[in-house]
């Protein structure tokens, strides 16, 4: 089991989700975060021009069994990239156990 954490552009979210679907990854959780990275965007407010590196991004947390990891990563990279600085990252973390709260089941079958 692995936990895949992907930080993507909000604007690419719909495409990433459908790519995940094609890769048969149907279950995950996501939330919005602020990313600090290479990308900068210019803003103006009351005559003050400033550029911020703090950019709204979406954070996907997906636990999959080991055999799904590569397909998932591939799907995200293909669908989430624009080629511009700021497309985001994917991190793979070990996950030792998983439970389905409804039934108490554990292991791979708990999250599929």
């Amino acid at each position: 089991m692995k936990k895949i954490e992907a930080i993507i552009r909000k604007s690419k979210f719909d495409e990433v989700v459908s790519a995940l679907h094609d890769a048969e990854v149907y279950f995950f959780s996501y939330w919005d975060v602020t990313g600090v990275g290479n990308e900068k965007i210019g803003q103006v407010y009351r005559g003050i021009t400033y550029s911020t590196q703090d950019i709204q991004r979406r954070y996907l947390s997906i636990v999959v069994s080991d055999s799904f990891v590569d397909a998932t990563v591939d799907a995200i990279i293909k669908s989430g990239a624009t080629g511009n600085v700021g497309d985001g990252k994917i991190f793979i973390l070990p996950c030792e156990e998983a439970y389905r709260i409804r039934t108490g089941e554990k292991g791979n079958k708990s999250f599929n």
């Binding site: 909000k10 604007s11 719909d14 919005d32 803003q43 407010y45 709204q56």
Partner: protein, 411 residues
Amino acid sequence: MELLTTNNVWMMLCAALVFFMHLGFSFLEIGLTRQKNTINILFKNFFIITMGLITYCLIGFNLMYPGDFNIIGNGILGFAGPGLDAAVAADLAYNEGYTYWTDFLFQGMFAATAGTIISGAVAERIKINSFMLIVLLYVTIVYPIVGSWQWGTGFLSTLTDDVGFYDFAGSTLVHSVGGWGALVIIYLLGARKGKFDTNGKPLAIPGSNIPLSAAGVLILWLGWFGFNGGSVLSADPANTSLVLVTTCLAAAAGGLGAAIFSGLLYKNLDITMFMNGVLGGLVGITAGADQMGPTEAIAIGAVGGIVVVLGVALLDKCKLDDPVGAIPVHLFAGIWGTVAVGLFGASAGFDQFMVQLASTGIVGAFCVISTLIIALIVKSIMGLRVSEDEEIKGLDLSEHGTGAYGDFSMR
């Protein structure tokens, strides 16, 4: 003099109430669209009201009330010259219902309204500069010309020998005029990304701030006290108070009609339909607010509400995307209200009905054609629609450099 003073107080306050409708429109539109396009909507609405007043002062007022149709005769086109006329203003015998200044102010507030109707329909995807140019031309030229045909005593006001067009406060002259413009432009613009799926099935794009929308509707209703009440053009107690009663009953009936009808249709108590229904009732009664009694007002309002519900569905069917329901409310209910003058109330009758229909058609054709010309020219010069990227980011960031809700966190 005493009477002029009273009349003028009423008319000034009605002008103030119509002015206040611009807040109503802004709130309505903001609330029914996404948070990322909020500043853009506000900017457009601030532009309309400020630009609208200035150009109406410079050109519009004297194009709408030319006195003489000195450019194209037979009540088609006239222009009394640029700017306001302090000499005319000085003469208090100008009109016993209001002073020259009040006349300008009341009419100027109306003018801007027509532009605002467009603003709502095209939200979330139009280029701000293109929008400003289109609406400038529409409010400064198209609206006053159409207005002159009826309120400037042009050809519509005496369409046949016996019967003239009747449009008390502008179901057609204000609301449909705005609505036709909106319809043409959303057709040219195309729907927002995400409004229809790849099979053309309509998707929901829920509004970001329903309380503000609801406030907008109540403010608009309040504004209609001035919009219709002021269209009596004096404080005549019998007429003004009748008009307020028919206006309020139609609004109430429109809301209930839409809520009940959409409740039955979709098995859901939808506040946005309730809200749009109130507006449909208001727009519906506007053409004949002084011709109806309470019962007719309730009937016209209720049908207006139902028309709005059906209109929303119809647009979805036609793959036209009107985020705030401006077209069902202002165009469809506006047409309904206009023809209803031929069906109900003091001047109902076959001839009147035909005149109402014909006038609706004439105004519609003129608005559609002139909007097409304006919009296509603007499109060819600077384009109409923002890029897909800008649309996704939201117009606030891409056109205005900042967001509307600083430290709130968004989904």
